[in-house]
C-alpha cells in the first residue's frame, strides 16, 4: 500500500517542502530510497529499521520503496526520518492515520526517540508558507517551531507519540511564539555545542584596564558599524577588548533576530528556545579553512561570514589567516552577502557582518617594545602592509595599542562599564537608523554621507586642511568623514564639527601617517 506524507529539507538557509512517498509492496524484502538523497538520507534505512523494531512495531519483510519528491531537489540530513518511519507503518497497515495535511520533521534513533534536527525553523516556515497547519516536531525543537506563527506544533518524544498524534484529531491550542533571549553558542560549525559546558560569559568592559585609545576606537567602530583593526603586541588586551563586544551591542531588531535565529538553527547551535536577540559574535581561529569561513561543503552549511550576519566577525591574528580566506572576505564586505557557486547552481547567503580584527605589529610581535623586537628595521611596516588593499579599504578604524605602564594599570579611576558604553553605542546607532535610509554610517553611500554630515563651510575647510596635511586620497577623505559622522552621533551632534573630524583622524591607517611625517 502507498502512503504519502509531508516533510521538509534544507537548501542552504531555506526550507523546502518535500513529499515522502512510501510504497510497501509484496516481493523480496528490501528497502530503497530514491530522490537525490545524500549519505545521511541513505542511512535513514538503518535508523528507521531499528526504531520500528525497538518501538514495538514490525519492520515489514516486504519490498519498501521510498521516493522523496520533487526528484530534482537534492535532500540532505535526517529530517525526513520520521516521515519515512510513519510511511512504512501506514504502508504496511500497522495503523491508520486520520486525513489532514500534517507534516513531520525529525530524526529517529535506533531506540525510537525523536531527535532534533538543525534548520527546523526555516523548514517549519517553509511548511507554513505552503499552507500546512499542523506539524509534528521533536520535543526539543518545539520552542523553535513555535516561533512560526499560525501553525499547530505537535511535539513528540518517541515514535509511538507520533503514531498517536497521527491517529488523533485533537488540536492543541496554537501557542504564542516564545520570544526569549538566547545567547549565541559557539562551537564547531554544524555541531551542537555540548550542553554541559556553557561558553564563558563575555568579559565586561570594566574588566579591561587602561587602553583608553583602543576602548574609544572600539566604541566608535561599534557605534557606526565600522571595520576595526587593532594592532599591538601580545598581551596588550586586543582579544580581551574584542571579547567584550557582545556586551556592547544593542539587541537585534525583529527582522534581524529572525534572520539570526534561522542561521543559528541551520548551524545547529544547540536547542533554540526563542528568537536570537543578541547579535552574533563569531571568532574563528586563524587556521580555519576556506569552507569554514565562507560556507559550503556538501550540505551547503553557512560559514562564519554568514553566522556573523548582523553581528561581528572577529579575526584574531588577521595576518596569519590564509590569503585565500582573506581574499574571500572581499565580496561579503562589499555586498553583505556571499555566493557559493556549484556545478548544480549557486546559492547566496547573507553575510552583513562587521569586521573586527587584531594583529601583532610585526612577526615577532614586539615592535615598539624597547629592544625586545627582533625584526629587521623595515619589517614591522611591511607586516601590517600585508593586509591587502580591498580589506584595508573596508577597515575604517585603525588603532595601535602599546603595552600599558604598570602605574597606569593599578592607579586611576575605574574604567567605564559595558552598560555605560553600550548605552552610548545604542543611542548613536538609533540616531543613525532614524535618518532616511536607516543605515549605519559604515554602509551609507558616499553621496548620502555628504548630506548627513551637514558640514558647515568652516568645517568643510577644516576637512580640506586635514586631508591636505595628511595627504589623504579621495577614499581616505571619505573614510575620515564617515568615522567623524559616527563620532558626532556619539556626541549627539546634528552636524559634523571640526572636533569630530580631528578625533576621527586618529583612526586612519598607519601607512597614510608614515608617508605624511618626516620619519626619524
Amino acid at each position: 500500500m502507498l502512503a504519502t506524507l509531508l516533510s521538509a529539507t534544507l537548501v542552504a538557509l531555506d526550507g523546502r517542502v518535500i513529499r515522502v512517498e512510501v510504497d510497501v509492496a509484496p516481493g523480496l524484502p528490501g528497502f530503497t530510497i530514491v530522490g537525490l538523497g545524500d549519505a545521511s538520507i541513505r542511512e535513514a534505512r538503518e535508523r528507521v529499521r531499528g526504531a520500528l523494531r525497538n518501538s514495538g512495531f514490525v519492520h515489514p519483510p516486504r519490498r519498501i520503496t521510498v521516493n522523496l519528491a520533487p526528484a530534482d531537489v537534492p535532500k540532505t540530513g535526517s529530517a525526513a526520518d520520521l516521515a519515512i518511519a510513519m510511511g512504512i507503518l501506514i504502508g504496511s497497515e500497522q495503523f491508520t492515520a486520520r486525513a489532514g495535511r500534517v507534516a513531520l520533521i525529525g530524526e529517529v534513533s535506533l531506540g525510537g526517540e525523536i531527535r532534533p534536527v538543525p534548520g527546523l525553523l526555516p523548514m517549519v516556515a517553509a511548511l507554513a508558507r505552503r499552507g500546512i497547519r499542523r506539524v509534528i516536531v521533536p520535543v526539543d525543537g518545539a520552542d523553535e517551531a513555535r516561533l512560526v506563527d499560525g501553525l499547530e506544533v505537535v511535539p513528540v518524544a518517541r515514535l509511538t507519540d507520533a503514531v498517536d498524534a497521527l491517529r488523533s484529531r485533537r488540536r492543541a491550542a496554537p501557542t504564542q511564539p516564545a520570544r526569549v533571549e538566547l545567547a549565541p553558542v559557539s562551537g564547531l560549525p554544524g555541531r551542537p555545542a555540548p550542553a554541559l559546558a556553557p561558553p564563558l560569559p563575555p568579559p565586561d568592559l570594566a574588566d579591561v584596564r587602561g587602553q583608553a585609545e583602543a576602548r574609544r576606537a572600539l566604541e566608535v567602530a561599534l557605534a557606526g558599524g565600522h571595520g576595526l583593526l587593532m594592532i599591538g603586541p601580545p598581551g596588550t588586551g586586543k582579544t580581551m577588548l574584542a571579547r567584550t563586544i557582545p556586551t556592547l551591542l544593542p539587541p537585534l531588531s525583529d527582522a534581524d533576530s529572525l534572520a539570526a535565529t534561522i542561521v543559528a538553527s541551520v548551524s545547529g547551535e544547540g536547542p533554540i528556545r526563542g528568537l536570537v536577540r543578541t547579535p552574533p559574535f563569531r571568532a574563528p581561529h586563524h587556521t580555519s579553512s576556506y569552507a569554514a569561513i565562507v560556507g559550503g561543503g556538501p550540505r551547503l552549511l553557512p560559514g562564519e561570514v554568514t553566522r556573523a550576519d548582523n553581528g561581528v566577525l572577529f579575526l584574531d591574528e588577521l595576518t596569519e589567516f590564509s590569503r585565500d580566506v582573506l581574499e574571500a572576505l572581499r565580496q561579503p564586505l562589499e555586498d553583505g552577502r556571499v555566493a557559493i557557486v556549484r556545478a548544480a547552481g549557486a546559492v547566496t547567503l547573507p553575510a552583513r557582518f562587521q569586521l573586527v580584527a587584531a594583529t601583532n605589529p610585526c612577526p615577532c610581535g614586539y615592535a615598539g617594545e624597547d629592544s625586545r623586537c627582533r625584526c629587521p628595521e623595515a619589517v614591522p611596516e611591511r607586516y601590517v602592509g600585508r593586509i591587502s588593499g580591498p580589506l584595508r579599504d573596508r577597515i575604517d578604524v585603525w588603532v595601535t595599542l602599546a603595552r600599558m605602564p604598570a602605574a597606569a594599570l593599578v592607579g586611576g579611576q575605574d574604567p567605564e562599564s559595558s552598560a555605560v558604553v553600550g548605552a552610548r553605542v545604542a543611542a548613536a546607532r538609533a540616531r543613525q537608523l532614524a535618518r532616511p535610509g536607516a543605515k549605519l554610517n559604515a554602509r551609507v553611500s558616499g553621496r548620502a554621507l555628504r548630506l548627513i554630515a551637514r558640514l558647515r563651510p568652516e568645517t568643510s575647510n577644516g576637512l580640506a586642511e586635514l586631508a591636505d596635511a595628511e595627504r589623504l586620497s579621495g577614499r581616505g577623505t571619505e573614510r575620515l568623514l564617515r568615522v567623524a559622522r559616527t563620532v558626532a552621533d556619539l556626541a549627539s551632534s546634528e552636524a559634523v564639527e571640526v572636533e569630530h573630524l580631528e578625533e576621527a583622524a586618529r583612526w586612519r591607517p598607519p601607512a597614510a601617517r608614515h608617508a605624511s611625517a618626516l620619519a626619524v
Binding site: 583608553a212 624597547d370 602599546a402 597606569a408 586635514l466 601617517r513 608614515h514
Partner: protein, 439 residues
C-alpha cells in the same frame, strides 16, 4: 648590530696616507683631473683610502695612476706600484688592479654617474674639504657631497649619535641635545640612521640650522630609504649628506663602522645619547677616543637595555669618556657656555644662572612652543614633554576627555609637534626640544 670587528684598533699604519695630501697639496690647488681621477678610483670595488694613498705616493698623482692603469701593461705596473720601494707593503691583488684598469677605461661613464646623482666630489686639497678630517688616520681621499660643507668649517662641530631603537625618552634627549647645540652655535653631525641620529638631524632641520649627515653607502643607495625626505630637508637647510663611497656602493655591515670614523673625525666631540650593549654608536665613541676627540655619553638606568652600551663604555673608559649630567653641563663642558644665547629662547633669565659660567642656552618650554594655540593642545603638549606617552597617561594628567585628547593630538600632529609611534605618542620638531623643567 653592525660589525664590531672594524674598530680603530684593527686598522693600523694609516699615517702613511698623509702622502696623498702632500702630493696634491704641494702644488697649491688640486687639479680638476686629479679630483676626477680620485672619484674614479673610489668607484673601484676593493680599493680603499690606504691603497689609493700608496699608489699616489709611488706614481705621483691620481691622474697619473689612472693614466698608468689605462696604458699597456698597466695592471702589472699597478701591482708593482702598490708596494713600497723597499717592499714593506703587501702588493694589491691583481683583481683589484684589473678593476682599476677597467674603471680607467670607463671613467667617462663613472663621472657621468656622479654628475647625474647631483654630487660634488670634494677631495683633500680642496678648500672646503673638512679640515678636521685631514688630521685623522685613514682620511678619505675625497668625499661625495650633496649640499654644502660650510657648516663643518665652523668653530664647534659636535656629533650626536646613538641606537637605532631608542626609547621615546632617548629620542627626546637627542632632540634637546641637538637643539641646544645648534642654539649655542655648534654644528651637529650624525649618521642619518633611524632613531637617535634621525632625531638629532630632524631637530636641526626644525631649528633651521645646517647639519651634516655621513652615510654608510653610496648616495644612490641611501639607507634607510625611510630617510630620503629627511636627507632632502638637510640639503635644503644648507647642510650636507656626505659619503666616502661612490654613488652605487651598497651599504654593508662593514661600511657603517668605517663611516663612523668620519662622524667622529669631522667633529670636536661625540655625544652618545642611547646605545645598546653592541650598538654601532659605541664604535663611533671608540673612534672619537682614538682620534683625540672628546667623548660624552648620556648615562641611564642599569636596568635599561638602551643604556647598557653607554654605561658600559663609561665604565671601560673611565677617565677618558665623559658623562652628560645635563644639557647645560654638556654645553659647559664643550666650552659653549660663554656663547651668547640666541634669539627666540624664551624663559632665559640671565640673573638666574649660577655664578660658575653656566650655559646661557635655554631650551623653550612647551608653553612657548605652543604660544597662540588652544589650551587643550597646550595641556597635551605639556603632558608629552613631561614623559606621558600613551593616551591613558595624557588623560590622567590633563583631565580632558579621551576624545578631546585625541583631537588635540591630531592638531599637534598636523603642525608637526607630535606623532604616533607603535601606539605611543611622542613630541617631535620644536616640541621635542622643549625642556620639561622650563616653566
Amino acid at each position: 648590530m653592525l660589525g664590531m670587528g672594524v674598530g680603530p684598533n684593527e686598522i693600523g699604519g694609516g699615517s702613511r696616507t698623509g702622502a696623498l695630501a702632500g702630493a696634491s697639496g704641494g702644488q697649491g690647488r688640486l687639479r680638476d683631473e686629479d679630483r676626477e681621477a680620485i672619484a674614479v678610483l673610489l668607484s673601484v670595488h676593493g680599493l680603499g683610502p690606504l691603497t689609493i694613498g700608496r699608489l699616489v705616493d709611488r706614481v705621483g698623482s691620481p691622474a697619473a695612476v689612472l693614466d698608468l692603469a689605462g696604458g699597456p701593461g698597466g695592471v702589472a705596473a699597478l701591482v708593482e706600484g702598490s708596494t713600497a720601494a723597499d717592499g714593506a707593503w703587501r702588493a694589491m691583488p691583481p683583481a683589484v688592479a684589473k678593476a682599476i684598469a677597467a674603471a680607467a677605461a670607463d671613467r667617462t661613464r663613472l663621472l657621468d654617474q656622479i654628475a647625474r646623482s647631483g654630487l660634488r666630489v670634494v677631495a683633500r686639497g680642496d678648500a672646503d674639504f673638512p679640515r678636521r678630517l685631514i688630521e685623522i688616520d685613514l682620511a678619505p681621499p675625497a668625499l661625495f657631497v650633496r649640499g654644502s660643507l660650510d657648516a663643518l668649517a665652523g668653530e664647534r662641530v659636535v656629533a650626536v649619535v646613538g641606537t637605532r631603537r631608542p626609547s621615546p625618552a632617548g629620542r627626546q634627549i637627542a632632540s634637546r641635545v641637538a637643539t641646544a647645540l645648534s642654539r649655542a652655535g655648534a654644528t651637529v653631525v650624525s649618521g642619518l640612521a633611524i632613531g637617535i641620529d634621525g632625531a638629532a638631524h630632524a631637530a636641526c632641520v626644525t631649528e633651521g640650522v645646517p647639519t651634516v649627515a655621513f652615510i654608510g653607502g653610496g648616495h644612490e643607495r641611501l639607507f634607510p630609504p625611510a630617510h630620503d625626505r629627511l636627507a632632502d630637508a638637510i640639503v635644503a637647510g644648507g647642510g650636507a649628506v656626505v659619503s666616502e663611497y661612490a654613488p652605487l656602493v651598497e651599504p654593508t655591515k662593514g661600511t657603517f663602522p668605517q663611516r663612523n670614523r668620519l662622524i667622529s673625525g669631522s667633529a670636536d666631540a661625540v655625544v652618545v645619547v642611547e646605545a645598546g650593549a653592541r650598538s654601532g654608536a659605541l664604535v663611533t665613541a671608540s673612534w672619537a677616543l682614538e682620534q683625540g676627540r672628546e667623548c660624552f655619553l648620556v648615562p641611564g638606568s642599569i636596568d635599561s637595555p638602551t643604556a647598557a652600551g653607554c654605561n658600559g663604555f663609561l665604565r671601560d673608559w673611565h677617565g677618558l669618556a665623559k658623562i652628560v649630567s645635563g644639557i647645560p653641563q654638556l654645553l659647559d663642558d664643550l666650552g659653549l657656555a660663554g656663547v651668547a644665547a640666541l634669539e627666540g629662547a624664551p624663559g632665559s633669565d640671565p640673573g638666574a644662572r649660577g655664578s660658575r659660567g653656566r650655559s646661557t642656552v635655554r631650551l623653550p618650554s612647551a608653553k612657548a612652543v605652543l604660544s597662540g594655540r588652544d589650551p587643550a593642545m597646550l595641556a597635551v603638549a605639556e603632558a608629552l614633554v613631561h614623559g606621558a606617552v600613551i593616551v591613558d597617561e595624557i588623560v590622567a594628567v590633563t583631565c580632558l576627555s579621551v576624545g578631546a585628547v585625541l583631537g588635540a593630538l591630531t592638531r599637534l600632529e598636523a603642525v608637526g609637534l607630535a606623532r604616533p609611534l607603535h601606539g605611543r605618542y611622542e613630541p617631535i620638531g620644536s616640541l621635542a626640544a622643549a625642556d620639561p623643567k622650563a616653566a
